[in-house]
Symmetry: C2
Subunit: 273 residues, 2 copies
């Protein structure tokens, strides 16, 4: 288990009730290593102010969340998505974030095959812009229960195939235990991901038993059935030295006292990660 | 699309408000080819009566649902599960059902690896009894959102590996579009499943967008985002000549008029399967 907090990063959405400036203060005071910044949180306080506060803090900016959503029926909508992603890459650079996380998207009115083609084409068309910004992109495979509208990339094996087909250092993968824990191929695919230098980010939380909401009922590490330390071990066996990002969407936790919740995150990280 | 109903089978749970005797009457009158019988439905009217009604009907008994749930913490609980499965195999035989569908189970307090070992060992220990009954068993890979408590077998690739490791004609696989539609390896794994003579059953329904309940909000074919005809094509390309089993758990449909619902099933089968 982690003995210090230097490799702990928290996503701003995890403590969603806190404005970004408050989150930066609280996370800094707690002594954690990093923060991943969600777009709406930065936009709400302004990108210039967000950058100043982040630069003045001891926090490492780990990633900017989230781009993607490439598949659409119409060419115009796909073009708008690319424009949005270029703006997000610019924003990531302006905040000093080295990585944009991609929730790749899915369009239920077209085939998964078509959506997958549009995802790969979309990512490829952003590579030059991303390189110009100095921002890498991480494909985040999402749990198959999100294959209808959120992502047509649903296993690490599939994400590996896409990243390898693209074959550019600007594009890697974010491994999130919530989306991938169930997969009997996970250890092997993590090894493959690392061996190809595609393992760019590592997200943690837990799968509650039972889960009451498909989107907003994630648990703290140790609260559910995911063996986070085991998966972290596989990730670190590849040579991954990045931060461990706590990304929790939870109506229950958002409704609770956020200072107490932060203390629970630190305890869960120390004991169950 | 199917032009007649001879290959349409409906699971008794699909029209759950109807007792089994009513379902047998209604399905027979509708001219469909078969029925898959759930344990509680048969038990409620008695196995002897159920058998008489099924024998007197024109319906083919396609499968008996459901055995499995092998993983447990204690040896005693695992033994009870095996006893339960032997009883279910006997009941299947008594109803004239040639196949017992296995929802393999998962125990969230132990590792998936351990649960998977217990699943394979459990199935293997039932083979002689199943052969004696003349009843085959079908591993049904379940959607990864059920990996916590319902099944640690979550992709067709994984089910193929387990069935191939067991390597006995008494054990095959049930392919259900609801659980497997999202998988980018599905076409390939269906081909493999068929090539190894492991494709024993084919279940259909649809994934609603949005899905309001993780268990009880399945849709009729055509109502969601699953390309059922395409997957059926892959299944039949392997030489599969079995029935197409409609298995829908839906609070909304169960609350509706079941005669009207049956007509909707027939229409959905003709137009969207």
């Amino acid at each position: 288990m982690p003995t210090d907090l230097s490799r702990l990063c928290i996503h701003s959405i995890t403590t969603k009730p806190w404005p970004l400036d408050v989150a930066i203060d609280k996370f800094s005071a707690a002594g954690i290593g990093g923060i991943s910044v969600w777009q709406d949180a930065a936009e709400a306080i302004g990108f210039q102010r967000a950058r100043q506060l982040l630069e003045a803090s001891p926090l490492e900016v780990v990633s900017y969340v989230r781009g993607g959503f490439f598949p659409h029926h119409s060419r115009e909508a796909r073009q708008r998505a690319l424009d949005d992603n270029r703006r997000l890459l610019d924003e990531a650079a302006s905040l000093g974030a080295p990585l944009l996380v991609l929730v790749c998207g899915a369009e239920p009115r077209q085939s998964l095959t078509e959506s997958r083609h549009q995802i790969q084409a979309g990512i490829e068309s952003l590579i030059d812009h991303a390189a110009g910004c100095g921002v890498k992109m991480a494909i985040e495979p999402l749990h198959p229960m999100y294959a209808d509208t959120r992502s047509a990339i649903n296993t690490l094996g599939q994400a590996n195939r896409v990243a390898e087909a693209i074959g550019h250092e600007q594009v890697g993968i974010a491994v999130d235990v919530y989306h991938l824990w169930w997969d009997d191929q996970l250890e092997e695919e993590i090894r493959r991901c690392g061996a190809n230098d595609n393992l760019y980010a590592f997200h943690i939380c837990d799968w509650k038993v039972p889960t009451s909401d498909m989107l907003l009922d994630r648990g703290l590490m140790g609260e559910g059935c995911i063996d986070v330390p085991r998966i972290r071990g596989w990730v670190e066996d590849t040579g991954f030295t990045g931060l461990h990002e706590v990304e929790i969407f939870s109506n229950a936790y958002w409704a609770s006292d956020q200072d107490e919740f932060l203390q629970r995150i630190l305890a869960a990280y120390r004991q169950h990660s």
